[in-house]
Symmetry: C2
Subunit: 111 residues, 2 copies
């Protein structure tokens, strides 16, 4: 799987999720993998980019065709469980931003 | 410095920069630190969140009040040099997306 999400014609939506892991990460890695796989099955899913440093600070950006798609994903049953465990157990702090992508480019090919 | 950017009243802008480092990272770390410091001095700068994993995949999201602020930042002289070196030397691939943040929340405090 590429580390980069595709670049469909804008506009589309980005969900920017920044999170610091707590000291209790039991079950986190398995759930994170399961959520990436589950997200990819949802209507309107475009792709995901995710990375985490050694301090446990992670940024995951998922991309969606529209607001309806990302709202539906928020309410998928297994995802609700993941959110609950994240709040209760895995994250010491997180922020989530919903943003409309207006334009994009990539490189360095074709520069 | 907090790893998290503040959450000003939306709308505001996010620049989502995802990049895979190449094998040639000479000077990269110093430049990255300098750019984070320089960005913070620019008009319209709101904050930055950045992380990179051991494979060299990094996501940096910088936040700006408006389009004018992020366009000005793109053209700051020292930043132009950083972009040039990034394309020529440091990044094997990158994507940059400009997105308008419509809403946000954080946690797990206050849930």
């Amino acid at each position: 799987m590429s580390s980069f999400a595709p670049l469909p014609d804008p506009p589309y939506y980005a969900v920017i999720f920044t999170a610091q892991l707590s000291d209790n990460t039991d079950g986190y890695s398995e759930m994170a993998d399961a959520m990436v796989a589950l997200a990819a099955e949802q209507p309107g899913y475009l792709g995901v980019e995710t990375t985490r440093d050694q301090s446990g600070l992670g940024i995951t950006v998922s991309y969606w065709t529209d607001e309806i798609a990302l709202r539906n994903w928020k309410n998928v049953t297994h995802h609700l469980l993941a959110q609950k465990l994240g709040k209760e157990r895995w994250y010491s702090h997180y922020t989530l931003r919903v943003a409309k992508v207006e334009r994009h480019y990539d490189g360095p090919e074709g520069r």
